[in-house]
Structures are given as C-alpha cells and as structure tokens.
C-alpha cells in the first residue's frame, strides 16, 4: 500500500535547500518594473491625473492612468466559468479605475527600468479627486442614503439569500420556550502567505504570456482575457511553485493589470511584485461577517426554532461575492438541524478592501458564531456542553437535500471522544469550577462543519495526464495545483497506488502551464485529494488497462490475466513476473512494427460532494490583570476519511490550527474611521501569531473512508482553521465567566470586557 504511508514530500529537498524556483527567481533580471499608484481616499471620482513630473524621472518607461485603461469590465473570483450568465461572477473591475471605491484603489501605474525609478515616479504622480462620502460598516452601508458604491446595487446589497424551513413564527408561540438572542462579530484578517503576490508578463508570438504566483492558472487565463478583451487562447498563464496562497491567490489579483502593461510597452517583460504592505492593503481579505442569532429552546435545550441574520462586509468589489456568506448560512441548519429555521444572508459593498476567498471560505466566521451561540445556550440553561452537542448535532444518516451529502459514520461522537480523552476534559472541567484570583484556567470545545468540494454550486472537474518513460516511470500532470499543502505528494501516491508502480517512479510535473497542462480549476475549497483523486484514479485505471492490452503483444497472456504490481507486469494466476514495466515501455516505444508512446489523459466530472467534520478542544490560562490569554493545550480531531499521507495531513492540521489561533486571539485589520485607511498593514502591527504563541499542536484523526471518494478522502485543507477560535472563546468563558462575542479576543477586548465585568475594581 502506498496510500496511507508518510512519504517525504516530493519537493522537500529542493525547498529545504533553496533550489526551488519561485516566480521572482524565474523572472529575467532585466525585466521592467511596474508599480501602482494607490488612492489616498476611500471613495472618489478621479478628475484628472498629472503625470508630467513622473515622466521626467530618469528610468521611467511609461506612465499610465485610469484614463488610458481598457473599458472592459472583468471578474476576479477563482470560480469555474458558467455558461449560464446568471451564474457568472460579477464583472465590476477595470485594470485601473476612475471611480475609487476603497482607500488604496488602483488609479495609475508606472513601468520603469528599476524599482527606485518606479517608486519615485509613483510619488510624483498627482491625482485630483472629487471626494465622495464613504461607508465602512456593513449595516450602515445598507441604510437608505448611504454612499452608493456600485450603480446597479441598491443599498449596496450585492446579494441577499434566504432559507426557510418549517414555520418559525408559529413555532415560537409554544409556551415555556426560552429565547436566546445574541450578536456575534468577526473581524477582517489577511492570509499572510510568505510569498507576496507577484507576476510577470510579456508578449511573444502574438500572445500574452503571464507567469504568476496563483492557485488557479486556468481561471486566471480567462480573467486576463476578459480584462483585455482578447480571445482566451491568446493568453497563457504559467504557475510555478508558490509560497502559499490560502485563498488570496484564488483570485485574479494583478495579472490583468500586468498583462495590460506589457501590451503598452511593446510587449517588453514587465514584473509586478506586491510589497507586503500592498498584500495587506490591496489584495483580498477574509470577510468580516456579523451574525444575529435568535434561538428558541426548551429548558432541556431542545432547539424548537432559530432565526439567523448574516451581514457580510464585501468591501469595494464583488470578487467571490455572496458565496462566502451563503456557505456559512447554509451550514447552520445542517450542523444543528432545526425544524423551524429562518435565515437571511446579506453580502454588502462597503468602501473597504475586497473580501475574497480565504481558507475556510466563510466557515471560521460561521463556526465562531454558531459554536459561541451553542455554548451560550448551554451556559444559560446549565447544560453540559458535550452532552448537549452530542444530542443536537447532525445525526448519523443525515442527508442534505441540496448537495446530497450524507453523514455516513458516527463521526462527531468519535471525534469528541478522542479530543476529550487527549485533553482530559471531564477532570479539568470539574477542576476549573468556581475559580477566584487573578489567574484562571478554562477548557472549551467547538465542532466544525465543512463541505469538501463545490458541487453542485459550481462545476467540479479534474483532468489528468500520464506519460510513460522508457524506464516505466511516468510524468503525472493535473490542473490542480501545489500551493504548499503537499498536493503533489498526495497525487503521486494516488497515481502510484492505482497504476501499480513504486512511488519513486512517479515524476509529478508541479508547474501548471495553460498551454500544456490538462484543464483543471486549481487549488481551492478542500477539493484537491477528492477532485484530483477522481481524475487521477480514472486516468490510472484506463492507463493500466491500456498497458495490459499492449503487454498482451509481448507476453501472449490475456490482459485480464495480468496486473501491474510494484512496476512489474505479473500473471495474476500464479504471481509470476512476466516483464518489468520498463521493459514493456522501452520495447513498445522502439518497436519497429507496433511503435507506441504510452500515454493516457482523462477528465473526471464530479457530481458528488462530501462532508468533512471534526472538533477542537482548547485549554487556556487567563491572566486577568494583564488581559492576556495563554493557550496551554489544543487539539483538533478530524474525520478526513482515508489519509493519503498521515504526516502531511498532520502538518495541514497544524497550519490550520495556527491560523485559527491568530484568528481567535490576535489578528485584526484596523481601519481609520476618518479616512478608511488600513492602519496596521504590515507584519509588525498586524499580530500574526508566532511559534512562541503556540503550545504543542495536537492533531488526531478518525478515519471513516468517504464512500463517494476515489481514495476514501474528504476535505482537510480548510477545516482545521474553523473550530479553533470558538474553542478558545468557550475556554475563556469557562475560565472567567465572560462571554466574548467578538473576534479577536486580543488584550484590548479583554481589558474592555474585564473592566465591564468589574474585575479591576479595588
């Protein structure tokens, strides 16, 4: 078995020794440098741009403004195209804009011979604005009379969807119900991948070539073509190794602008390299979503009716739009089924930077809200939080009517059992009762709900190509991308397993090039092993069948009598090795009668999706006078089905937990209320958590193979981040009795809430 073994990552040695080439390493050192003039107002119409001084700076090649930019509107979301217009992503961007919609919007660009000249020219550009009123708060933006950010969207509402189940109004009339009515607020955060966004573009052979640090080369190609108004085939996008994306790079970021700039300087090579400050201020962010929960429960906690409102702050442009808000909303009546449910989700434009995809896609926000609320119900009614969750959570056999996803196993109970045992939950819960003093400890839990892939909301497809070499090894190509998560290693294990060759005989082509890589939609959702797994398995099985047909010529054995095991063609009836795969490949390639190059290419379209569940337990020590939370212990337990590579799966969970810790305790993008400017857009002032802020991160698994999956897998890329903040929140509640309904639970908020709680009175 190759599946289930912790092979060393295929890219480990190259990455550890610095041999791996990323976009910047690949770019010719003589490339022209592009820089962007960002607006210093949050909402305005550009009246004029004076570039006369900028053009005089030595080394400046070209200065371009929003008045030069093409009029084509384009979308940026990393979603598959839809042939139905109503399902297409919203086209609301130009490469440079005359209507500034957030502080930092792109109004002009400079192409220069070096960075210093480009920076000096940017400083020398003078922009005249007609300044408009702006709005930053999501609910303020919905009010009549709020600044209109996009013409077509009344009250700035990008989308509003509803879920109705049963009869909420009737159900709440039942006597004796307890109403629990609370608001929960989540903050804006950024992905903080190590490699900032970077791309470079040039023209050659009448086509526009773009190399980019992206998760979605095939989608980006289409977005660039839309932005420039050219045929899709005229654009080529190459994706080398990337230093993380976490969803920020599941968007066309500055590829369209860079591609346009090269066309304005005679096709010369132009590099656009975002500074860290631009990654913060001008890329995508996680949506801040505000939730209003009203639950009507019986004294024993039975959920009779629930109403939820979600207000998602989209920022200035549509990007992934309503999909993020809607995902969380849709999860609520699934995770805790409720007969009478009413849900509203609004995604609303504001004059803030643009919300896009980020690991978890709306679920870290939604999980914080629902798991804080669930804990609040338990606290209010004096119920045991574990027993209550076991009783009310989605039952085994539950099928979601829309996605047809099914909970096949007793996952939630198994995960809770494992987590409780590791963290010694019951004993500590007891020990932490009735604490007094400055320093108190607490323990908390959170469940998580997730969907692996995107079917049936969008197309799910994955293509795979296998090309055999003379030694029986193969090149493996898929459209799904390695973005640091270890996909290439998992893909190689899958291919080796199904084809019957040693792991080392799979040479994965990591780089995607839209000219040569079979079509795939890239890395997003938690779909890589699930979706690409189906493409790989389909291709490998067809390839194996074909190879055995070819082997018949040389072995005289019927194909059904043979198999490929460990790189050998064997006779199944007695296990005899008939020839090695290498001998077959070499012989058939140079066969003067029946020459053939052994290759296979297949596309798998997925019409299934899979649930992926788990939980998190956190133990904290709260230093009340110092307003600090120390995380003592934390464990995530996941049922991701069959683990392809347990070591990589564990690493994936560690990364997600780390992101969840920062989300829960320290990370928050701060905006100046007077100007709309991002105040802390750098890695010093934005408090990304560090190794020194983490305890040991325990990752455990319950392996219930997913019946619909080619290799028994279900999503693991995003789920680990989702339950962490809520588990920490519930632990702080347990320690101090103070319920935090806002993220992050940083010292500022602790100071405020502890002051209100009277902890600092003499």
């Amino acid at each position: 078995m190759i599946i289930g073994k912790s092979y060393t990552r295929v890219d480990a040695y190259d990455k550890a020794t610095g041999r791996t080439k990323y976009t910047e390493d690949l770019c010719d050192k003589h490339a022209l440098v592009a820089k962007i003039k960002h607006s210093n107002v949050a909402h305005a119409i550009v009246k004029s741009v004076d570039i006369s001084e900028a053009e005089k700076i030595p080394g400046v090649v070209k200065v371009l403004t929003c008045f030069d930019a093409p009029e084509y509107l384009f979308p940026t979301a990393g979603h598959p195209w839809s042939t139905e217009e109503s399902h297409q992503d919203i086209c609301d961007r130009n490469v440079l804009t005359k209507h500034v919609r957030y502080y930092g919007d792109d109004v002009a660009a400079v192409v220069a011979e070096d960075e210093v000249a480009a920076k000096r020219a940017i400083e020398a550009i003078k922009v005249e604005y007609e300044v408009l009123p702006f709005v930053l708060d999501v609910q303020e933006a919905m009010k009549d009379g709020a600044p209109q950010i996009h013409e077509k969207y009344k009250n700035n509402v990008l989308a509003h969807t509803q879920i109705h189940k049963g009869n909420y109004e009737e159900a709440i009339k039942e006597p004796g119900l307890i109403k629990i009515d609370k608001w929960y607020n989540t903050q804006t955060v950024q992905h903080c991948h190590i490699e900032n966004f970077i791309c470079y573009a040039w023209e050659e052979g009448g086509r526009i070539h773009v190399t980019s640090s992206t998760q979605i080369p095939h989608v980006t190609r289409r977005c660039v073509a839309q932005a420039l108004g050219v045929d899709w085939g005229r654009v080529r996008v190459v994706k080398p190794y990337i230093g993380g994306g976490f969803g920020n790079k599941q968007d066309a970021l500055y590829e369209p602008l860079c591609a346009w700039l090269t066309t304005q300087v005679g096709g010369r090579l132009v590099k656009l390299d975002c500074q860290r400050e631009e990654t913060f201020a001008n890329n995508r962010v996680r949506h801040a979503i505000r939730y209003h929960f009203i639950s009507w429960v019986k004294p024993d906690g039975t959920l009779v009716a629930r109403k939820v409102e979600c207000f998602s702050n989209q920022g200035a442009y549509a990007s992934h739009g309503h999909a993020i808000c809607a995902k969380g909303l849709g999860s609520f009546p699934q995770l805790y089924p409720c007969e009478n449910f009413e849900g509203d989700g609004w995604t609303v434009f504001t004059n803030r930077q643009v919300g896009g995809a980020m690991r978890g896609y709306g679920m870290p926000q939604a999980t914080f809200a629902i798991e804080a609320h669930t804990e609040d119900i338990c606290t209010e009614l004096g119920l045991d939080p574990i027993a209550y969750r076991r009783k009310t959570v989605m039952p085994v056999g539950y099928v979601d009517a829309f996605s047809k996803n099914e909970l096949y196993s007793d996952t939630f109970n198994q995960c809770l059992d494992a987590g409780m045992k590791y963290i010694d939950f019951e004993r500590k819960r007891e020990a932490y009762k009735n604490q007094t003093g400055d320093i108190r400890r607490g323990i908390g839990v959170s469940l998580l709900w997730y969907n692996t892939a995107v079917w049936p909301i969008a197309l799910e497809t994955s293509s795979c190509r296998m090309v055999m070499n003379q030694d029986g090894s193969i090149q493996l190509q898929v459209g799904e991308t390695e973005i640091g998560q270890g996909a290439d290693t998992a893909f190689s294990q899958m291919a080796a397993e199904t084809l019957g060759i040693p792991f080392e005989k799979v040479h994965i082509v990591s780089c995607q090039d839209t000219d040569v890589t079979p079509f795939g939609t890239g890395a997003y959702a938690s779909r890589q092993t699930y979706a690409a797994g189906m493409g790989i398995r389909g291709c490998a099985e067809a390839f194996k069948a074909h190879i055995l047909d070819v082997a018949y010529r040389y072995t005289r054995m019927q194909s059904y009598l043979m198999d490929i095991v460990d790189g050998n063609i064997i006779r199944k009836t007695d296990g005899r090795v008939l020839m090695t795969l290498g001998e077959l490949a070499l012989t058939v390639l140079y066969d003067r009668e029946h020459n053939e190059h052994l290759t296979m290419e297949k596309t798998a379209q997925l019409k299934t999706n899979a649930y992926s569940f788990g939980c998190c337990f956190a133990e904290v020590e709260v230093d009340i006078p110092m307003c600090q939370v120390k995380l003592l212990n934390i464990i995530n337990v996941h049922d991701a089905g069959t683990l392809i590579n347990p070591a990589l799966a564990e690493a994936q969970v560690h990364g997600g937990m780390s992101m969840g810790i920062g989300y829960g305790l320290s990370e928050k993008m701060l905006y100046d209320a007077k100007t709309g400017k991002l105040l802390n857009g750098n890695l010093l002032d934005y408090k990304l958590s560090t190794m020194m802020d983490h305890p040991h991160l325990e990752a455990q698994f319950v392996e219930n193979p997913e019946p619909t999956s080619a290799y028994g897998t279900k999503g693991l890329g995003e789920p680990p981040v989702n339950p962490v903040a809520s588990a920490i929140r519930n632990a702080i509640l347990n320690a101090t009795g103070v319920a935090f309904d806002e993220l992050p639970m940083r010292p500022h908020l602790l100071y405020e809430k502890f002051s209100q709680a009277g902890f600092f009175q003499d």
Binding site: V116, R120, K687, T690
Partner: protein, 293 residues
C-alpha cells in the same frame, strides 16, 4: 532595492567623525534594522548614509578600572544577552534586549542604534533608564558623557551634536552593585513584537532584605520618551519589603506615567497595565534580591 543616494563607510571613530563633518545631512547607519525600514517606507528615501558598522573598537563589553561596565555602542542584542559580565551584573538588560524582534534582528540590531533611534518603545531603553546608564558620545571636541535621561530630548530626538557618534553605554558600579531588576515587556504576541508598554524595575534591599533601600523604575511607551518614575521612587525608597509597598507602587506610578491614546492601545488600558506591571516587576525584583513578599 533601497533608494540610497550614497554610502560612506568608516573604519575608525576618527573616520566617522570626519565623515559626519563632511556630510552633515547624512544619516548614521549601524545594524540597519531601523534605518533601512525608514528608507523603504520612503521617509529617508534618497538619503546619504554613513555606515559605522565596521568600527570594531566600539563593539563588545568590558569592565573598566573603576568598575564601570562599558557596552560598546555597536554591540548586538544577542551578544549582550550572552555576555558573562552582563549576566553577572545586569542580567535584566540581557533579558530585555532578548525580547527585541526575532533572532535575526537581535543579531544585527545594536544597543547604540536602539538608543539613538530615540523611540520610546525600544526594549533596552526602560532598563537603561532604570539603571541610570550614561551615554558616551565622541566628536570633534572629544568625549562627552550624558546621563540617559538627558540624552532623550523628545520623540525620535536625542542629544547627538554635529560631528558626533555614540561610542558607548556605561553603567557605573554604584548603579549595579547589590542590585537586581526585572523587565516586563507588554506585547500582543510573544515574539516579533514592539512593546505596547514596558516596565523595568530594580531594587537594592537592606542586608536583612526587609527594606527597599533603593527603588528605580523605568518605563517605555508610557510617555513620548522612555521615563523614570521619580515620584514613585521617592515615595518608596526606604519602604518595607511588603505587599503593601507593591500595591502602593502600583498606585503611585499613575502619577509618573503619561501614556497616550492610539490605535495600538488606549490610554486607559496603558495606564492599567503600567500599574499592574510595576507591581509585578517590583515583586520579581525583590525575589531576585532574596527578599520575600
């Protein structure tokens, strides 16, 4: 790519002074961990630099004949932390500078740069304040010694005259003898952090460990420049080693500090923390001195 017009490198203090006179507008650069950031931000874009990083004579720590501890201005944070003289006589300084940034910054950043930068958040500053460090400056007219409290003139402004460079940070024997201290850096995370506020407290206890003979408290980010808590010190010099004293210190420091409201933290929160930290650092300093509370 940094926007630097020119860089002049000095190998000796004399060369540095000469370059300072020849290029009066040029900015002095040592480890570069502050200056390069300002250039990148555009604040110093297009500047001229005088690098003093190659002047080995002002690097390292030694004891002078009169017992004064001399820390060469170019000594890096990581070298200070690991130095035996520091560990023996003023361990708290080594601990304080070990809280700067991350390992790379501590290897490049210098104590001279940390003080000359003139910022209130410098991790070395509150401890140097609390230990009454003397700043040594060398210029065309020779050596000048300035008590650190006078060295800070205002936010980002220090007393370096034209032609001068800082050559040493001195701690006198009277300052460190029989004295132990503790520094608390308040940050929003445990590494890669700038202090929200910092408090350094040291005490000299009576031989029987019952009386606080000398109390010194230094703060960072409690005012535009690092400060001493003189009122509190005056009130509690000679006080008993007790929880009552600790609580008194916690209250009285509020008369010494003057933090500001900013998006990084509110004044109210900083005041609260200044009080809590003074108490805790005092208790810790007493414990290090062999006292009991």
């Amino acid at each position: 790519m940094y926007d630097v017009e020119a860089i002049y490198e000095a190998k000796t203090v004399e060369e540095a002074i000469k370059l300072r006179q020849e290029h009066p507008k040029a900015v002095i650069i040592a480890g570069g961990s502050d200056v390069l950031i300002k250039i990148r931000e555009g604040k110093l874009a297009g500047c001229e630099l005088i690098s003093i990083y190659g002047i080995d004579s002002i690097r390292g720590i030694r004891m002078e004949d009169d017992g004064t501890l001399r820390i060469g201005s170019l000594t890096s944070f990581s070298h200070i932390t690991r130095n035996e003289l520091i560990q023996k006589y003023i361990n708290v300084l080594g601990e304080a500078v070990d809280k700067v940034g991350g390992p790379q910054i501590r290897a490049i950043g210098t104590i001279g740069g940390n003080t000359c930068n003139g910022v209130t958040s410098a991790d070395s500053a509150s401890t140097l304040m609390a230990w009454e460090a003397i700043i040594e400056l060398t210029g065309p007219n020779g050596v000048r010694r300035v008590p650190i409290e006078k060295f800070y003139l205002g936010a980002g402004k220090v007393d370096i005259q034209p032609g001068e460079i800082q050559t040493g940070v001195l701690i006198t024997k009277d300052s460190y003898e029989n004295c132990k201290g503790h520094y608390i850096k308040y940050g929003m995370r445990n590494a890669m952090e700038i202090a929200t506020t910092g408090c350094s407290v040291n005490v000299r206890l009576s031989p029987d460990k019952k009386v606080v003979e000398r109390l010194r408290i230094g703060y960072g980010v409690a005012a535009p420049v690092p400060i001493r808590a003189h009122k509190t010190e005056a009130a509690f010099n000679g006080a008993s080693v007790s929880m009552e004293t600790a609580n008194g210190i916690a209250k009285t420091v509020l008369e010494d500090v003057n933090p500001r409201d900013s998006w990084r933290a509110s004044k109210s929160m900083r005041l609260h923390l200044c009080s809590v930290m003074a108490k805790r650092a005092f208790i810790e300093a007493v414990k290090l001195s062999g006292g009991e509370i």
